[in-house]
Assembly symmetry: C2
Homo-oligomer: 330 residues x 2
């Protein structure tokens, strides 16, 4: 394993320190318990907090800032943050309007966010994302996994909270977006968890893992490597099967997400294929995002996410955002 | 080789088509000869055009848009664009104020940009970037190579052109920035050129290539893998040796650039180390950029760039920019 690391045990805090320094206009890092907040605390709004294991950067800390998250709680690599992190973050960013947690649907995260929510004296609610339609039940979770669609939920709910929506209304929007968003990923290589020091799974030069999870969880099946057109067609077909009637003549946001080690040149080639396939089905892409937004450390591979838009979601997607990883309108 | 590709020969145009579709608000793709322009042609300003071999995305097409480039000319992977591309692009975006070409210092690029400039009836000038202080003379070029510092030149010169500076003045700024910018990269793995289908060079699990070029060119030497602190110290020391007196008590922009397959978590860890080392030398980082901006396809590794700032460069770095890969102020 060759990585930029001094000591695996300190890797997360050293990286978080670098993140804070590189974005000192945007974020503050708090240690023990670990959480990050906006540099300037927002006023008079629902506080939106996300979190999850590290290794998916820029998710979630990269989305802290005006128009998106108020705070993020990073766990160790591929490990849920603990309730004390969420509680400390909530106490730091609550403005009296309550806290909305956004967590990806993994057993550890669900348990720890739930526990924090129960102990917390601040009113709170949780949106669980579960956009990965590759498999139901998998390593680490019951039910569908939360993957790159989480970015869309965080962006739009963050916008709604910024605009003054109350806690219940923010949760309704988050749940709605999650219900009309579907993703599938494919891996060419495994990721390597630094503490493990070796690839999570073995895969040969002629195989791909279709439907892989962002922690290297098994997907639908191990398939034979083939041309991009065929791989992307299978992914888009599966997504449209999942979205079913909701996708009919829909206007959508298409997110092509790199899992860490796939070049932008290939991600745009994927976009080109997916766009054509969606168009052939009468679906119109009116918003897009291409890049590494929900990664699996150093995995070579990509995921596709389709989110069915309506005027409400579109408005909140388009609203100004100023974070390390997404920025427009400011 | 596992890549998202249908046919290696069409890979570039398929990717460029995807790029145009994903950023249809920003860019237009023109084929045969291949070049990309802003969607809306600018008026009454020096046109800034860059280009170079593909495989370094988002460089250069990702930097087309208001405040930065007017056009970009992509060659095939790691291959210079041809003069007809630069000429067609120049004719498309010239507003009567002339064209400034920005090219990285590689023999093929230099020859082809020079040829285009000579044949072109539009007045033009060229800024050659050569920020890589790892080696003098290398595969593909005489003199220093142009690497990630090119992004800073393109951003600031683009800003100056947008503000109405004339051709000669834009060139002076570009040359000045290049002269006070130094970069070095390090590779953990080789890149794989799609048409070659195999890694450009062999490197073992215990070795690193210090000073690697963005095409996988040899660096200063093959070294033993070691902890991040030691690797980054060697890089920062070499950069400061190169910048010499210019770096004394300087205010700088620190760019930590991923070469394609290195996770953001590690890039921020690198930033943390480099920031501390620079601070210890009395250097103040007042601007920063962390991410994949000048890549070497799928190479695992990173580069560090230090640009000495002054009020003029700082102003042009900070000015609004709206491109696919860099955006602020709009």
């Amino acid at each position: 394993m060759k990585k930029f690391v001094n000591n695996v045990d300190n890797m997360l805090t050293e990286s978080l320190s670098g993140f804070e320094k590189a974005h000192s206009d945007l974020v503050l890092l708090h240690l023990e318990p670990n959480y990050l907040t906006r540099k300037t605390k927002a006023e008079n709004k629902v506080a939106v907090i996300s979190g999850g294991g590290a290794g998916h950067e820029p998710l979630h800390a990269g989305f802290i800032g005006k128009g998106m998250l108020d705070a993020a709680c990073p766990g160790q690599v591929f490990t849920s943050p603990t309730p004390d992190q969420m509680m400390a973050a909530a106490e730091a960013v609550d403005t009296g309007k309550g806290v909305l947690f956004i967590a990806k649907n993994y057993a550890g995260d669900v348990m720890n966010f739930e526990m924090a929510g129960e102990i917390l004296s601040i009113k709170n609610a949780t949106v669980l994302t579960s956009d990965d339609c590759a498999v139901i039940n998998s390593t680490f979770t019951d039910g569908r996994r939360g993957v790159a669609g989480t970015v869309i939920v965080e962006k739009c709910v963050g916008s709604y909270a910024e605009a003054g929506a109350d806690l219940a209304t923010c949760k309704v929007l988050g749940d709605k977006i999650n219900a009309q968003t579907a993703s599938i990923g494919v891996a060419f290589t495994s990721c390597t968890v630094p503490a493990a020091g070796k690839p999570t799974f073995k895969i040969s030069e002629t195989e791909i893992e279709m439907g892989v999870g962002i922690h290297g969880e098994p997907g639908r099946k191990r398939e034979t490597m083939r041309e991009a057109d065929a791989i992307i067609k299978d992914i888009v077909d599966a997504i449209l099967t999942d979205l079913a009637d909701k996708a009919k003549s829909a206007e959508v946001l298409l997110l092509v997400n790199g899992l860490g080690a796939t070049p932008l040149m290939e991600l745009y080639l994927i976009y080109n294929i997916a766009e054509k396939l969606l168009q052939e089905q009468g679906i119109t892409i009116i918003r897009s995002l291409v890049g590494n937004y929900t990664t699996a450390i150093d995995m070579s591979g990509a995921s596709i996410t389709v989110c069915i838009l309506d005027d409400e979601i579109k408005k909140h997607w388009d609203s100004p955002v100023h974070t390390a990883a997404l920025r427009w309108g400011v």
